[in-house]
Subunit: 375 residues, 2 copies
């Protein structure tokens, strides 16, 4: 279990198979986000059909609602949401720092107010692991402290605390059927990142996550940080770049040796009527699509593109029909999953490095609009 | 085309096959409502899976948005919404009277304000047929005037105008691949209903609709009206009871010789978290379902019941996840479609009349709550 077999390498890019209790995960992989035990507006059947292989769910949200004890009583998260392939839960650390109100950090843990009802809660590394054991995902995360990327002193302190919390997380873990990943923190300071990468690598967890990126730094800073971190990580363990990203980020991440990604972008864009396409990101509410008889993407094999016109999807958006979000979510997720399928093929046949610039060019319209902050 | 073959009869209840350009329709049939060219939150794939065979869409809504000309340009309604089995459109008459603002009726037609943007529009029988020809459903409706069921003088006038408009609708029709149904009106006054039934029957349309019921009258009044009307209709043509109804209404309608039904009830209930079940209508938001590991209905074969627990669906509702509406819609629609499948079997084997009281008992909890006005 949790064996990671690299089947091909192209420079730093790798493709391989990570074994989990719910089946093998082919990497590099993009995980759709199912924050509240559902990838918004999609059934597990839809996820199967787009060939999703790993789904992420959020510990913070599930702890608050419906409660991790309830999920455990109902047979665990796989059974609860009826997703029988690999699942990953985060530690709740990021949401505590980004969503909750008036948090208070101390050496033991974090006290915070629920964003739902203002009730007071406390997460410690031990609590985070206990929740994640109740949920029962295949891959779970050490509890970490996410720092403000612009506060250098805090970054170092938070990194050191993250290391102590990683050790406590490992100590607290009891289930043998879950892979606990340590998380490298340290903002964009190379010295701090190096220290963190070395320490987390020394813990010998079955995989290693890289946190604290895609939180406001530039793309250049993200790439430089990855260039510093991934060479210090063991070759034979999967690397997970948390909360990233755009199609461009995926290509750049794979180039730098990343194996696992997750991001809400494709489903969030879908709910704002924005679809990935070879022409760039399309705002399907635009009047120019009213009589457009083409699918979102003529090259796409998803249900939405095989079935519906832009004209119909635009009508659904204008008429405020929720099916629009479902259809665009299916397409946007399939677009990124298909990108990863192609990347795996390219690494396997040795062509990834030479193809990467062309892939980046193909996706540049989509990426550019994302960087400009447009939905 | 539009041949109706009755294959078995049980007293007044009938089962048969209505041939349309998009395939055979087995009656009695319940049609899910896809007001705006989509059965809310469901894909055509979901509709196939619950064995839906006829879908209704609304002329008033599609005329306003996206426009019937656009639908025609995009290949017609079947292609636009990707539903390749039989479709039915209403005439727009009912919505003009129930949804639009400040309508003005004259002998020629109705002038009304859009409920969307207040713009002024005019429907005549000729316009309604032209719109329905642009949409291209298999079954279309004559333009009718829906009257206030409590205003006796108006009811008779409206009925007479409906007859003149039915003749004009027939005159205006040009497409041979659409079956135009006349509509019997007349409120709950037997004298007026008899006159209307005889007149509409004389028009020799390939099917006959009964309008103006389920608009506030009692169940007893609805049944008495059907008892007056259906014996006056030709045996060899399908009878469509518009906008009806509850499971109890379907059983009572079939008993009185009705072949086609449609109603928004199952999908509307679903969006309000209410599900049909053998225990009666369930409000799945209720805290008692938080740890209920059973499906909505253990006897149901739908995707939702085969896959998910009440506990999970309740979580989706509480967490405001739209998937809840999708899953309950699938179940509620399947429940009524399965009821109709069973009724067809019972009529075919001659047991319907003897089984009807037991069927009504089984569904009485669900029906009762509906009559009490609870969602």
């Amino acid at each position: 279990m949790f064996d990671y077999k690299i089947t091909a390498k192209n420079d730093r890019a790798r493709t391989g198979i990570f074994s989990t209790p719910h089946g093998e995960l082919r990497t590099p992989v993009f995980a759709p986000v199912g924050t509240q035990a559902t990838v918004k507006t999609l059934t597990p059947g839809h996820l199967e059909e787009i060939n999703a292989s790993l789904v992420l769910s959020n510990t913070y949200h599930l702890y608050l609602r419906p409660g991790d004890e309830l999920v455990r009583e109902m047979g665990g998260l796989h059974r609860f949401m009826q997703w029988h392939k690999p699942l990953l839960t985060d530690s709740g650390g990021f949401q505590v720092f980004s969503l909750s109100q008036t948090r208070k950090v101390d050496e033991e843990g974090v006290t915070f107010k629920s964003h739902i009802d203002g009730s007071i809660h406390r997460f410690t590394p031990e609590k985070s692991i206990a929740i994640q054991e109740n949920l029962g995902a295949d891959i779970i995360m050490a509890f970490d402290e996410c720092s403000d990327p612009n506060d250098r002193d805090y970054i170092k302190q938070a990194m050191e605390r993250t290391h102590r919390w990683a050790e406590r997380s490992l100590e607290a873990k009891t289930r043998p059927d879950q892979a606990l990943f340590g998380i490298v923190q340290g903002g964009i300071d190379p010295t701090v990142r190096i220290e963190s990468a070395k320490f987390i690598a020394s813990l010998d967890t079955p995989g290693i996550a890289i946190g604290g990126l895609s939180v406001g730094e530039t793309k250049k800073e993200m790439h430089e940080t990855l260039d510093v971190v991934t060479p210090l990580l063991p070759e034979d363990k999967p690397r997970y770049l948390m909360g990233v990203g755009t199609p461009e980020d995926l290509i750049n991440g794979v180039t730098r040796g990343i194996d696992i990604f997750d991001c809400v972008l494709p489903t969030r864009l879908a709910r704002h009527h924005s679809a990935f396409s070879p022409e760039g990101r399309l705002n399907l509410m635009n009047a120019s699509f009213a009589r457009d008889g083409r699918p979102i993407d003529e090259t796409c094999d998803c249900y939405s593109c095989r079935t519906f016109t832009r004209s119909y999807i635009r009508h659904l958006i204008v008429a405020k029909e929720l099916l629009a979000g479902t259809l665009i979510s299916i397409h946007n997720l399939r677009a990124l999953i298909r990108l990863m399928e192609n990347i795996r093929i390219f690494i396997a046949d040795g062509s990834f490095v030479s193809r990467a610039p062309e892939l980046l060019r193909q996706w540049s319209n989509n990426a550019k609009r994302a960087e400009n902050g447009a939905v």
